[in-house]
């Protein structure tokens, strides 16, 4: 690097841009090879087809819902949807009030009910449990009809094995808790026993009737368990507080009964009580102590995450929240695809028209515009892919529209820049100087105007809902891409081109021909140049007031004419600075 100057700086900038693009491409390529990313952008629901439900939470009795409760609601819905075997569902909150559920395909009525239902949490004692994850018992090995259990007496409490009758046993054997899962209801009679699974472990249970309903949970939290000496151990635990008097009393009764069984045999499944959410067991701890004051702590093989998740579920379980479907939109995959194709087609046609127009307007410079647009498009595309991979950003129809709209605004940066360069040429500067000066001025304008766009997209992104968000996002993204391109490609490219013979000497097709631009060389000697139009026509002088430049180039005859004009019009009062130029476009047609 011997020389430093505009040329080598321009070259270096272009190299940097190439390096950035290559790095991003390699990152995406690596992601594709690793199977984490795809070359195609992730598509939103309106392009891919599927169902979008907007749910408004309803809290019994209470008025408003806190954002914390809404987050819990989202995590519960997510589990319900995941549990029902729908993959790739997207659940998010919107506007701090609503929950948006997007599912590929169509939900069954049952799934819809499940999503809407309020959390159904309760505590049931365990009657029987399998040791390991279990599927359905094979037909051949099932208990024959005559060996099925028959209750000998009415059950005395919820843990009583007399709850298990023939029908329940059949159901227990036929249920599978490992994939493929057996369809199970999500709401059941609290006064009846229940066959249930623990999704995390695959263990199968027979549970007794509900003894402590979820609404009796006051609060739950999680933290590191305090040891016997009060020092913190490094074991995570979940603290559960029950409401007094009902919750505490009921819990005391349960733990007394179960703890007796635990003292007799720590491995007795009947010493355990199951915490059941939507009829699935989320945890089934053994009762290791009698809880008299409604303050219990659950320990086990918890990590911080699993402790937090259990405490969240317990908190949520105490919340009688249900959802109302505000709107449900189904979009068929074919219609979405059709829309996308049309959008792309419109974008390409629009781009083609812009290309033709800029070639017509700027001749060879038009190619710089086209290349700049292509690079801006490439950067936008890579950004969308990378965001889809990292943030799960999905391109929606509104986003596609945002990109198409951005074509015009991106091209505007180049137009502003080229026009400034032309203005400098008109002042009689050489091309190299004109590019530098024009850029210095255009840079300010471009930055100020793009700031407005970026501000708009930020505001829209943060206050808006639904499809407006996707639109705002792409609008902001393209504005940033545009800035990168104009600073790192368009200007350096023009700096280099200005030094070529074709542009530097102002070839007629370069779009920067000083002759066509009516440049007035700063050197006003005998070689003064005039364009053919600049003949000695009379009306030339009429605009003397508005034209300092023109004024200095006027002949004396023209000046006199102008003066006569002024006398005819009469001098206007000072202060009303009225331009006295006249619109002579009629004469020029």
């Amino acid at each position: 690097m011997a020389r430093t100057g505009p040329t080598s700086t321009a070259r270096r900038t272009l190299l940097w841009l190439a390096a950035i693009i290559i790095a991003c491409t390699l990152a995406v390529g690596g992601g594709v090879l690793a199977g984490a990313a795809t070359w195609a952008p992730k598509l939103g629901l309106d392009l891919e087809g599927g169902t979008q439900m907007i749910l408004a939470p309803k809290v019994e009795g209470a008025g408003n819902i806190t954002s914390e409760q809404l987050d819990q609601a989202v995590s519960i819905i997510r589990q319900r949807v995941d549990g029902s075997g729908v993959s790739e569902a997207e659940i998010s909150t919107e506007g701090g009030r609503n929950v948006v559920v997007s599912l590929p395909g169509k939900p069954t009525d049952q799934e819809r009910e499940l999503i809407k239902a309020s959390a159904n949490m309760n505590f049931r004692p365990v009657i029987a449990a399998t040791q390991a994850p279990s599927g359905a018992v094979p037909e051949a090995e099932r208990t024959p009809e005559d060996k099925l259990p028959v209750p000998t007496a009415a059950p005395v409490n919820s843990s009583d094995t007399n709850w298990v009758d023939a029908a329940l046993m059949k159901k227990f054997e036929a249920t599978s808790c490992i994939p493929p899962l057996t369809e199970r209801p999500t709401t059941s009679d609290p006064d009846k026993p229940l066959v249930s699974c623990e999704p995390d472990s695959g263990v199968k249970y027979i549970l007794g009737p509900v003894e402590v309903p979820g609404k009796w949970i006051k609060t739950a939290s999680y933290g590191l368990q305090a040891g016997a000496q009060g020092a913190t151990t490094n074991e995570w635990s979940v603290q559960l507080t029950l409401q007094k008097p009902d919750g505490a009393k009921a819990f005391k009764d349960v733990t007394q009964r179960l703890n007796a069984k635990y003292q007799a045999n720590p491995n007795d499944p009947q010493a355990r009580f199951a915490i059941v959410l939507d009829d699935s067991v989320i945890s089934a701890p053994s009762s290791m102590a009698v809880i008299t004051d409604g303050q219990s702590s659950i320990t086990g093989q918890f990590t911080e995450d699993s402790a937090k998740s259990l405490s969240d579920k317990l908190k949520f379980g105490s919340l009688p929240i249900s959802f109302e479907i505000q709107s449900e939109i189904q979009i068929s995959a074919t219609l979405g695809l059709q829309q996308l194709e049309m959008g792309m087609l419109a974008g390409l046609i629009g781009l083609g028209l812009v290309v033709i127009y800029s070639l017509f307007q700027y001749r060879a410079l038009g190619f710089v515009t086209i290349l700049s647009l292509v690079i801006a498009g490439l950067i936008t595309y890579l950004a969308i892919i990378l965001l889809g991979w990292a943030e799960n950003y999905r391109l929606s129809l509104a986003g596609v529209a945002g990109i198409i709209v951005a074509i015009g605004q991106t091209a505007d940066s180049f137009i502003v820049y080229f026009e400034r360069v032309r203005d400098e040429l008109r002042d009689g500067r050489g091309l190299v100087a004109a590019v530098e000066n024009g850029w210095a001025r255009a840079k300010r304008t471009i930055l100020a105007s793009k700031a407005v766009n970026i501000l708009a997209s930020l505001v829209l992104y943060f206050v808006s809902v639904g499809s407006v968000k996707g639109f705002a996002f792409t609008l902001g993204l393209t504005a940033v891409a545009d800035l990168i391109v104009v600073f790192m490609f368009t200007h350096p490219a023009l700096q280099l081109l200005a030094r070529t013979k074709f542009f530097g000497e102002g070839h007629a097709f370069s779009g920067l021909d000083p002759v066509q631009l009516g440049a007035v060389p700063l050197y006003r000697g005998a070689g003064r140049f005039r364009t053919p139009e600049e003949s000695q026509e009379v009306h030339k002088g009429k605009n003397a007031r508005a034209a300092g430049e023109a004024e200095r180039r006027q002949t004396i005859a023209e000046r006199r004419l102008a003066a006569k004009e002024t006398q005819l019009v009469g001098s206007r009062g000072a202060g009303t600075a009225k331009s006295e130029s006249r619109d002579d476009s009629e004469e020029k047609k």
Binding site: M342, S449, R560, G575, A577
Partner: protein, 331 residues
């Protein structure tokens, strides 16, 4: 017919000059009438035509139909759910849209099956949607909040950048004209107002101010040392700046409108009602109105707001004195 470059040259030197500032009474008058009509039309012309997202209801879209007969759909709905009024439209070459009042889940399934049978399409080619009336309200409420937040922040941003709050005022006045007139076109033409149209509307917000900032930046450049110069008065300088950026304004408008126009064309021709069409319609109107508003309303407004400042009045006098003496010398 001269070449466009020559046109640009003449505008740049001031040889050719359009009186954006000088004839501002005319331009303000036209803008005022347009704004008035835009407000009156929706008031007396039946108001806006709100889409289903604002009214609430059920909507079915059937694509790839064999016959685009409206009657088929109406009969199918009437049979499946007697008493339901259905509005059936052919929205694209092979796509039908059926809108009804909000149906229950069961009724929705029934109507859907009836339509499927009537038009002879498979499950893939029919979609059902129901929209609560609050959905559209949510979108527009957030949009209005966004509008105010953006205008406030943009005003501050421009005032800081241009170092004069008068430019902000002039730009916002221009913006309001754009908003009202675009809304007026919607009201007068009975185009459907959908959430997508609202998005388009918000984009015009940013486009309109964007366009104004580009022109105002040239004005700033031209008037930066105005008090030290006796070449032109403030108003003349503003006018020259608008003229000098006129080529850019024309080019930018063309380049911005071409892609939007092609979406509009494709959307209306092949796709029927939908996000793309609604969006591009608002943009198409808005971009054109924005360009006019910048050069005919915002720029003259700025000149009007400032030319009575004592310093600028003094400067204008100096300019006239110089012109008078030069004329005398020339004679």
């Amino acid at each position: 017919m001269k070449s466009f470059a020559t046109f640009g040259n003449e505008l740049y030197t001031g040889e050719r000059s359009y009186e954006f500032v000088g004839k501002r009474k005319i331009w303000f008058g036209i803008a005022g009438i347009a704004v008035l009509l835009s407000i009156l039309f929706p008031l007396f012309g039946g108001g806006y035509n709100f889409g289903i997202e604002f009214r609430g209801g059920s909507q079915f879209t059937i694509s790839q139909v064999a016959h685009t007969d409206v009657l088929i759909g109406e009969e199918a709905v009437a049979k499946a759910e007697p008493g339901t009024v259905a509005v059936v439209t052919n929205i694209a070459s092979d796509t039908m849209q059926v809108q009804t009042d909000r149906l229950s889940d069961d009724a929705t399934l029934k109507v859907k099956d009836a339509l499927k049978a009537a038009y002879g399409v498979t499950e893939d080619h029919i979609t059902s949607t129901f929209v609560g009336p609050t959905w559209g309200q949510d979108v527009s409420r957030q949009a209005i909040i966004g509008f105010f937040v953006f205008v406030l922040l943009a005003t501050v941003l421009m005032a800081l950048y241009f170092r004069t709050w008068r430019m902000s005022i002039a730009a916002i006045v221009g913006l309001l004209v754009v908003m009202v007139v675009t809304a007026g076109v919607y009201g007068a033409s009975n185009f459907e107002v959908t959430p997508s149209a609202i998005i388009g509307f918000l984009t015009i917000l940013s486009y309109s101010l964007y366009d104004t900032v580009v022109v105002f930046d040239k004005i700033r450049e031209n008037t930066v040392d105005i008090t030290k110069s006796t070449r032109r008065t403030f108003a003349q300088e503003v006018n020259l700046a608008v003229n000098q950026t006129l080529v850019r304004s024309i080019n930018t408008t063309m380049v911005a409108v071409l892609p939007v126009g092609s979406i509009l064309f494709i959307g209306a021709l092949l796709l029927g009602a939908g996000t793309l069409r609604d969006l591009s319609l608002a943009l198409f109107i808005g971009i054109i109105v924005s360009t006019f508003s910048t050069i005919f309303v915002a720029a003259p407004m700025y000149s009007w707001l400032r030319e009575h400042e004592p310093e600028l009045v003094k400067q204008a006098k100096k300019v006239q004195q110089r012109e008078a003496t030069e004329t005398a010398v020339a004679l």
